[in-house]
């Protein structure tokens, strides 16, 4: 299989521009700068590349939404990578930062943006340091700054470190955060392509999406499109974690069988353990079970299975774990990360956590499971951004698919607590009632 993003990525010193150029780096940029913008846009469209950040929106189409007018336009790279289970952008940025930078310069040239930003999550200290050096090298080499390679095109690139908030991965939350505000998502429309950063047209893409651009230019869009399958072109970095023997990032061609990824590449659960369920696209995707392992790993197959490819992060949970614990961990994460702007998400995540805590401690009844399920339904589709849905869909799927286990857990916990005849023991760390 052809590795595009991960090809010999461990090569020592690849983060240095000299090594990157020796391996043919920045050639795609030279090629692109010699082409008309429309041609580049056509290549991107022809590649069939769909966004790698979660929503899977075709890159070429998004880029074509950016108005051609001669106004201040922006390119933003979404390097917030905070979706639980996702760590692919991290490895790319750390080991091959120039591939991202090159992709960004081409993307900016294509849409006519003269200012660009990488919004990297603040926790990625090493990766940010690497990028900062790489940007300085690219500047020194004349790939960034005024009149790049005598093309007349200028681009400024600023690395912006976030400070710890999942919601800043959501594109409009990211834009607000990049403007120095609280990272609350904005109403859409207007979409970033029309009114994004500083109210200007803004192309915003994931690290992996942008890092793939040099390959597309090098190979030609239609050649790239031959990788993968229809509607899911190209290769994809998959982060596999949880109960597998060889957790890590793997570059696959879309359309590969999920079993081959989980078992073939990542080694499957430990000896003697079974896959109980797995998140196919980060913690926000509805879970699949062992029965779904033969589904192919691509956008359409996942949608058909009622879930999504998301960020391409597979989290495997084996049968040693309690579904209640996972549900509570999940819900607590979203409760903590809800920005608090809109009612269903803020109150719904908060309420769900409280109910799941009762389920866990045995103070619930099966009726509470109905309420949990219905609260998830009340969240879905009613929020400002999809963070609310991102909790409601997987939690809803867990309750739907593992209801008997929830019920027996409640039963067992109630029994431990003496069927509620004696008050349950006070939990040691008081749970703040909020």
């Amino acid at each position: 299989m052809s590795a595009i993003l991960f090809d010999r990525i461990d090569e020592p010193g690849l983060n240095d521009i000299a090594t990157y150029e020796r391996r043919g780096g920045y050639e795609a940029l030279r090629k692109a700068l010699a082409q008309p913008r429309e041609g580049l846009l056509e290549e991107l469209k022809a590649s069939g590349l769909r966004g790698r950040g979660g929503a899977g929106f075709p890159l070429g189409m998004k880029a074509s939404f950016i108005p051609g007018a001669d106004i201040d336009k922006y390119l933003v790279c979404n390097a917030d990578e905070s979706e639980p289970g996702t760590f692919k952008d991290r490895e790319l940025m750390q080991k091959n930062p120039h591939m991202l930078i090159e992709g960004m310069i081409i993307a900016a040239f294509t849409v006519g943006a003269n200012r660009s930003f990488i919004y990297i999550r603040g926790e990625y200290v090493l990766q940010a340091d690497v990028l900062e050096q790489a940007i300085a090298q690219a500047k020194a080499a004349g790939f960034l700054g005024e009149n790049i390679l005598d093309s007349g095109f200028s681009l400024d690139l600023v690395l912006h470190r976030g400070a710890g908030a999942y919601i800043c991965g959501e594109e409009t939350g990211l834009l607000d955060s990049l403007e120095g505000k609280r990272g609350n998502p904005r109403l859409k429309p207007p979409f970033p392509a029309n009114q994004g950063l500083f109210q200007g047209p803004t192309l915003i893409n994931n690290v992996e999406t942008l890092a793939t651009i040099p390959a597309i230019i090098r190979m030609g869009g239609s050649e790239y499109a031959k990788l993968g399958i229809e509607n899911s072109a190209g290769t994809k970095l998959v982060s596999v974690s949880g109960n597998v023997q060889r957790p890590g990032n793997y570059e696959i061609e879309l359309g590969m069988s999920s079993r081959d990824i989980i078992f073939g590449l990542a080694g499957g659960p430990d000896e003697g353990r079974e896959v109980k369920f797995w998140f196919p696209g980060g913690s926000s995707s509805p879970v699949l079970t062992a029965a779904d392992l033969d589904i192919t790993y691509d956008f359409d197959a996942m949608a058909k299975a009622g879930t999504m490819l998301g960020s391409g992060a597979i989290i495997v949970v084996d049968d040693s774990n309690s579904v209640v614990d996972v549900a509570l961990t999940l819900a607590s994460f979203y409760k903590h990360e809800s920005c608090g702007k809109c009612t269903p998400c803020r109150e719904g995540t908060n309420w769900t956590v409280k109910m799941l805590q009762r389920v866990q401690s045995g103070e619930a009844t099966p009726m509470d499971l109905d309420i949990i399920a219905s609260v998830q339904e009340q969240i879905i589709g009613n929020c400002l951004c999809v963070l609310g849905d991102a909790m409601a869909m997987p939690v809803g799927s867990l309750v739907a698919k593992f209801r008997p286990e929830f019920e027996s857990h409640i039963e067992a916990a109630r029994e431990r607590n003496g069927l509620g005849l004696t008050p349950p023991p006070a939990s040691e760390e008081p749970v703040l009632s909020l």
């Binding site: 461990d10 603040g122 926790e123 050096q133 020194a140 710890g164 505000k181 989290i315 920005c339 703040l432």
Partner: protein
């Protein structure tokens, strides 16, 4: 993974029960003439402001800088940021309290984030948190926080020690980490993310050993 009350770090409720102090003056934009700011901090913030088309974008970088100088985003630190940027301290506080990495209470200088999110908790993250707390043994210089997914689930359970990612951690590593920090040396050098090879065959280089380190300019 059941025995930890999750996300205590997410429940910074203090503030909800507080009245204002009517004897304080309203918090408008602090005047640099009457708000002393260390020269280096001021220059760093101004340099950040110059990077962006709209200076306000520099607020998060400015808070990072102020936190480095003051140890936490103290009211004083916030006022200094506000004075240099010409905005109100309220706006600065609104941002500082939104993000997890900004400390709004005084904390120790050694910052350890222990991941307790899904992939790590499937592999014992909460136990690591406990072990880390035990290893630090109440030393006020250690700021140990449960944290959401740090984007390194491949090395679960993991932690970020003063920004350095380490994992997969065994409970016994925690004492070592604390000792390393106290000794001022490298933290768990062999388990750092910067030396972790790519899991994908295609990424490997024969005989090559990955190490992400400084490059020569």
């Amino acid at each position: 993974m059941t025995d930890v009350t999750r996300f205590t770090h997410g429940s910074r409720i203090p503030g909800w029960d507080d009245s204002v102090d009517p004897n304080k003056a309203p918090a408008g934009i602090p005047d640099l003439a009457t708000t002393p700011v260390p020269a280096e901090l001021r220059e760093e913030i101004q340099a950040e402001m110059a990077k962006y088309p709209v200076f306000r974008s520099a607020l998060i970088p400015a808070l990072h800088a102020a936190q480095r100088v003051h140890g936490w985003c103290s009211p004083e630190a916030i006022e200094q940021v506000a004075a240099v940027m010409g905005i109100t301290p309220g706006e600065v506080a609104a941002v500082a309290t939104f993000y997890d990495m900004f400390e709004t209470k005084p904390v120790g200088t050694q910052t350890i984030y222990v991941c307790t999110n899904i992939s790590c908790s499937l592999r014992g993250g909460p136990k690591i948190l406990e072990a880390m707390r035990a290893a630090a043994d109440g030393d006020a210089d250690f700021n140990i926080r449960a944290f959401e997914c740090l984007g390194a689930c491949d090395m679960a359970p993991m932690a970020s020690v003063n920004g350095e990612f380490v994992g997969p951690l065994a409970e016994s590593d925690c004492a070592q980490i604390v000792a390393d920090l106290k000794g001022g040396g490298e933290v768990l050098a062999a388990k750092q993310l910067r030396v972790r090879p790519c899991a994908d065959e295609a990424g490997r280089v024969d005989g090559g050993q990955t190490t992400t380190s400084e490059v020569t300019q």
